[in-house]
């Protein structure tokens, strides 16, 4: 082998860590005490030492990592794909078979990580050797590549042929068994690093991530700020996760399943229909969710509507209206900010406004000052004040109100769909109108004004 003259600097960091970890596994597998039992393998008339069967590999992996057979098969398969183990009998079939198929460890000299990227020159020498050794031993794709290389590095071709001859001469002086082993190892290396067409290149890395600015711009600043934070004890925080998961467990379709059935499994969209944005009667789980947090109530369009009804009964509906208007400013178009802020001021903040909201004087003063130069976040303080007012006061009372309790009582608990009698009959999967379509229809209707005929089509997409 020629000296690999390519710089080692171009290596991908992620791949290097993977190689190192795989190499650890390989080394462990060859450990004299805890490693695998090796045996001699007969290859035609030659005996190859230190071989193992696919079954051995899998058993060892299962035992060492306490994993199931499928995972061991997968992990072993990866070791094969990356060239750390190669098959003896059918070198081109880089698949791990859980039976008596023989495999061998690749020598570290030929580890992908040792000589990577594989050099063009080395590949040319390898192909030249194959060509010289037995005329016509090159496969079609190898012949193509050989001629491409010949053209590309024509200036060093004499060197290539000379090296090839030299290496062949040296190998003739080895014992037959050693020679065969070396040939197998070399072939295995090239099957990984220059795979035949149609076989995926396992060394495909994707895009490089070359940028490293080595700037520790805010390290000291961030540290200083972090030291000043208030932290919460772990026991309190972690308890929070346990509580949250418990509370939402019934609502998690992947954990508990969903009623009447998971549309992806049963092909029945009833679950989605029942939980559509606006339905005459919501499901029980949905209404229960409103009691988990104020945010859950507001997130749900229907919940928000219900809450508004309640607030209006209490003559404090303007709070929610104000909050919604502030959200609109925060997340809406930049160009409309000024006019929206003006609207909000007129309706909610101006003295004697129609829907005046009760904000403390300090926040009010700050907001009024900010309105002179309106920006996206000018209403933030006022909005937060009203949000927490609703959260601490109106929200808990809503949950205790008859309005909520009746809603909860009325709510549907869907029946679990019985499994189909003929499980092989697949339900027809119906398409649904695209949200883009609904929006297009809405704007069409707006454009035409009232009294328009049926707008647009409702075709299956």
């Amino acid at each position: 082998m020629t000296i690999n003259t390519l710089a080692k600097g171009g290596w991908h960091r992620e791949q290097m860590t993977c190689f190192q970890k795989m190499e650890k596994v390989i080394v462990a597998m060859q450990d004299p005490d805890m490693g695998m039992k090796m045996r001699n393998q007969r290859l035609l008339i030659t005996v190859i030492p230190h071989a193992m069967t696919g079954h051995d590999i899998i058993t060892w992996l299962i035992q060492k990592y306490s994993i199931c057979e499928e995972e061991a098969l997968h992990l072993g398969g990866m070791l094969l794909k990356y060239g750390y183990i190669y098959p003896l009998k059918e070198p081109r079939s880089i698949v791990l078979h859980p039976d008596e198929t023989p495999y061998r460890f690749q020598t570290p000299y030929f580890w992908t990580s040792t000589r990577w990227p594989a050099s063009e020159l080395d590949y040319a020498i390898y192909l030249a050797k194959k060509n010289i050794r037995k005329q016509g031993e090159l496969m079609e794709y190898e012949k193509e590549r050989y001629s491409v290389l010949h053209k590309r590095i024509n200036h060093t071709w004499d060197f290539v042929v000379m090296q090839a001859r030299e290496q062949l001469r040296a190998s003739k002086q080895r014992r037959k068994a050693d020679r065969i082993v070396l040939e197998c190892q070399e072939q295995a290396y090239w099957l990984i690093n220059r795979p035949p067409p149609g076989v995926g290149n396992v060394l495909d890395m994707g895009l490089e991530r070359p940028n490293n600015f080595s700037l520790r711009v805010t390290l000291i600043e961030t540290c200083r700020r972090a030291l000043g934070r208030n932290r919460v004890k772990s026991s309190i925080c972690l308890e929070g996760f346990v509580k949250y998961s418990e509370q939402y467990q019934n609502h998690d379709p992947i954990m508990q399943g969903c009623l009447p059935s998971n549309p992806w499994i049963s092909d029945d969209t009833a679950h989605w229909t029942m939980n559509a944005e606006m339905v005459p009667t919501p499901t029980r789980l949905r209404v229960e969710c409103w009691s988990f947090s104020f945010m859950e109530l507001l997130k749900d369009v229907m919940g928000r509507k219900e809450f508004m009804t309640y607030l209006e009964k209490e003559f404090s509906g303007e709070n929610l209206c104000f909050w919604q208007a502030c959200e609109d400013i925060r997340h809406g178009e930049s160009s409309k900010i000024a006019e929206k802020v003006e609207e909000v001021y007129k309706n909610f903040l101006a003295p004697g406004a129609a829907r005046w909201v009760n904000i403390d004087s300090k926040t009010m003063d700050k907001t009024l000052e900010g309105i002179k130069r309106p920006h996206r976040f000018v209403m933030d303080d006022a909005q937060m004040h009203i949000y927490f007012l609703m959260k601490k006061d109106s929200y808990p009372r809503y949950l205790k109100s008859d309005l909520y309790k009746n809603m909860l009582a009325k709510a549907i608990i869907p029946q679990e769909t019985k499994k189909s009698v003929f499980p092989f009959m697949r339900r027809q999967r119906h398409s649904s109108p695209s949200p883009a379509q609904a929006a297009a229809q809405a704007t069409e209707e707006d454009g035409r004004g009232k009294g328009a005929g049926p707008a647009g089509t409702n075709s299956d997409v």
Partner: protein, 383 residues
């Protein structure tokens, strides 16, 4: 010397000329320093940052009185997990790099290496829209909250918004709006609560918030020392923060209003490929090339769990939580998906099916399924 000059000083560690003249990029002062002075200052700053770092670790450790798996001992264990591929979406001609769900819980948008962005109704597996971007490696795509547009970008360094037209004859590319402009590849993008703002992260080391309508930069976020690979918006009541992860192994939490980095975590041993908030917003998970997923609690200000196994060797490309936050799904570079019990820290299940790297993974908005995209050109829906 002003604090800002720290940046330039560190950058020029290897300079060895007698008189050093340089302009600090941030504060634009021209500073003259002799070599001796330079080395002294560097050494001083280095010790200062090391001291601060260890002090911070000390403070964090003081309040760490219990481990997550200990608290979770009383929680019931999870039974056998059966999740299968329920849909396979074929149609991309090359590696699928990114995907996102529509709020209608069944539509998705996906992008791939060959520049194609496809909108699917994943339930019926029908393709509804397709756009060919003028660049390859479209690494980021996102569905607008209204369902009426998609955003995408990649090697073109931009993020563009395409309104979804239902007219089959209309060329979607005609109405394209260029919103974000970075100086390196776009790695991730996400709409905020409305169609009007987009948050982006880029290989140029920054994140940015843009106004869709005008294409104006609203806020930029500096602080990562290398490519930023991922971001996620917080589901908090006040909705003003997001987390980003990068090649500098750091996960940073940012305030969207001020552009400041309010918290930073650096415990991973390699690039962070994916970050995702816990549903309550009090924590976030990260997936990295070091083959681990980690959970960071924002109130405790520390890492609280590591999800790893000796037999898992390949990096995590993407993570997401189930609806209740009890399960963490990770898509790995060894073609598998590992399902973790977030509370107990154990691996619940391993899912096979893809024939190449899993590059992207998202749980659907109502938690009924999750979708994975892979370098094997397909997307799969699992439930």
């Amino acid at each position: 010397m002003s604090e800002w000059c720290i940046c330039s000083v560190f950058a020029l560690q290897k300079v060895s000329i007698i008189i050093v003249i340089f302009a600090c990029v941030v504060c634009k002062y021209i500073i003259y320093l002799s070599e001796v002075q330079l080395n002294e200052t560097l050494a001083h700053l280095k010790t200062e940052s090391e001291t601060l770092k260890s002090k911070l670790e000390e403070e964090r450790a003081k309040l760490h009185d219990v481990e997550l798996h200990q608290v979770a001992e009383k929680v019931e264990g999870l039974g056998q997990f059966v999740m299968k591929t329920r849909r396979t979406l074929k149609g991309h001609g090359n590696k699928v790099l990114c995907m996102d769900w529509c709020k209608d819980k069944r539509r998705i948008v996906s992008s791939s290496q060959d520049g194609k962005v496809i909108v699917w109704d994943a339930f019926t597996t029908n393709k509804e829209h397709a756009v060919t971007m003028p660049c390859t490696w479209v690494m980021a795509c996102a569905y607008a909250p209204s369902g009426c547009a998609v955003a995408c970008g990649g090697l073109d360094n931009k993020c563009s918004v395409y309104p979804l037209s239902l007219d089959k004859n209309e060329n979607l590319a005609a109405k394209k709006k260029s919103v974000a402009m970075h100086t390196n590849y776009l790695s991730a993008c996400s709409f905020t609560n409305s169609d009007m703002q987009i948050l982006t992260s880029s290989g140029d080391g920054t994140c940015a918030l843009w106004d869709v309508e005008s294409g104006q930069l609203l806020q930029s976020f500096h602080g990562h020392a290398a490519d930023v690979l991922c971001l996620d918006l917080a589901p908090s009541e006040t909705g003003n923060t997001f987390v980003s992860g990068g090649c500098d192994k750091k996960a940073n939490v940012w305030d969207m209003r001020s552009g400041q980095c309010i918290q930073s975590f650096e415990t991973h041993e390699s690039d962070i490929n994916s970050v995702r908030y816990y549903p309550s917003g009090d924590a976030f998970a990260s997936g990295s090339d070091d083959a681990t997923c980690r959970l960071y609690d924002l109130r405790a200000d520390r890492e609280v769990a590591i999800y790893s196994k000796e037999s898992i060797i390949f990096g995590v490309s993407s993570v997401d939580f189930s609806l209740s936050g009890r399960l963490l799904f990770g898509g790995y570079n060894d073609y598998t998906i590992n399902v973790w019990d977030v509370l107990k820290g154990t691996r619940v299940s391993i899912l096979f099916g893809h024939e190449n790297r899993v590059s992207t993974l998202r749980v659907s908005p109502d938690g009924t399924a999750f979708c994975t995209g892979s370098w094997d050109h397909t997307l799969r829906i699992w439930a």
